[in-house]
Assembly symmetry: C2
């Protein structure tokens, strides 16, 4: 799958592209069931909220077949390779839970800020491409983006180790206010929160400023994030475990477009 | 102003009625400026978040002329008297800030639960009628309602004194999940979050279950809540200060419909 010229223009101007319903219900049902099974394990890769509810599961593509297929899926790998004009490798792989009632805030941040500071990634030639496993609604903790904020490079940030269980380099109120003013149309608002059905895909620039509110509802909001990095831009000075910031810089060879679907069908038969 | 038969039916079935843009920009601008001035004072009636940002200001109708006029406004008093078929008095008056960046969560609760337990109000013959002073958007901490949940009477609740600076009788996850299942249309979701321009009015049943997420954005979300109680249903055994749960049970005599507008115009002239 390749982005068209309109999508490329949008990505350049706004810093993100939303692709509704890229994956089918069958594909997503298998991934959702596997994600829930992973959250029930006590692997070191599963991080929890202060309440004990799952917050994120790292590196599932290395130990789970469904997520291995997703992590090499052409609908995700190809658009990112296209944008970087070179092959990509997997820098990070997360399944963020934003669990019903328990999913906590992610404060305003840029992902590339962390990849640069903590992992020694040379340039913002990596980005997140995410897959909704549940419906993302305005009420269950959607991602909020500040459009155009990716044009500012790496902004000054503070290391927040208190607010949630997950340490994050976060931006201050003055910076967010200024970025929102710049992003807002006349009389409007400088924040967007794309919502959509399970199977929708959202790709966004490594420097795009984003946050998400907690989830107070009974409706979980699981999203898988593949962080794909241009191979030539591999990390130089990692400080985090290799299941958070991977050291395998092999270019990803995409699987066939129907590989996940075939897996999901076999999976369904096995479950019956 | 009276509710029409469609609005009465909606209120009975769903537990709330939304009335977009009931107040004009001029009226709201004056109220907004006065609310911000009140938040800057250190009166005992102004409660703050743990961060120090304003959370709510009580009883402003007793010490501020703009809010005195709002607290006796026919667009608010008349629909509630109509529903209760008797005059109403002011049980509580709040300006909730949900401040930019700082406004914290209000967990799932029923207001009448608190009025009954803490104030000795005999029946749920009181309700909130609220006025948006800022635009309420999906991103800045809107009220979330579970439609039809007002049909269940007072639900069992726990007294949460920890989550925020404001003690609240809150409902547990199992109850919320069950109520959402009952409220949801087939394949749908059992939560609504009405949004709208400044000046919009939202009235809701004292037993309607509601919550609101924190506000992570630079956009404040101030709402004034008049809690109007049928005079015959006045509280019997108050435990809270009289500026939180009022002891003056005098029926409210509405001011003229243009009283707030005239005030706002004079106010604007004075400011110039």
């Amino acid at each position: 799958m390749r982005l068209n010229s309109q999508q490329l223009k949008e990505f350049d101007e706004l810093g993100y592209v939303f692709l509704p319903e890229c994956f089918s219900d069958e594909e997503i049902a298998a991934l959702r069931a596997e994600a829930e099974a992973i959250y029930r394990t006590d692997r070191q890769e599963v991080w929890r909220e202060k309440s004990g509810a799952p917050r994120t599961a790292f590196a599932a593509h290395t130990y789970n077949e469904a997520f291995r297929l997703l992590g090499a899926h052409p609908r995700l790998i190809e658009p990112v390779s296209q944008l970087f004009s070179e092959p990509v490798y997997m820098h990070q792989f997360k399944i963020n839970a934003k669990a019903a009632f328990e999913g906590e805030v992610w404060q305003w941040h840029q992902d590339y800020g962390t990849w640069a500071r903590d992992d020694g990634m040379p340039e913002p030639r990596a980005m997140n491409i995410s897959v909704f496993l549940d419906e993302v609604m305005a009420i269950n903790g959607p991602l909020m983006f500040i459009p155009k904020s990716h044009k500012h490079g790496v902004l000054a940030a503070g290391h927040d180790k208190e607010t949630t269980s997950y340490p994050l380099w976060t931006l201050d109120k003055e910076t967010i206010t200024r970025l929102c003013e710049e992003a807002a149309p006349p009389g409007g608002v400088g924040i967007v929160a794309p919502t959509g059905k399970p199977g929708s895909v959202l790709m966004f620039h490594g420097n795009l400023v984003h946050a998400s509110p907690p989830n107070l509802t009974p409706y979980p909001r699981k999203i898988v994030y593949l962080t794909l990095c241009a191979v030539s831009n591999h990390i130089r000075t990692p400080t985090r475990p290799d299941w958070i910031a991977h050291r395998d810089f092999t270019p990803i060879a995409p699987v066939p477009d129907d590989a996940l679907l075939q897996y999901a069908r076999a999976y369904k038969v096995a479950a019956e």
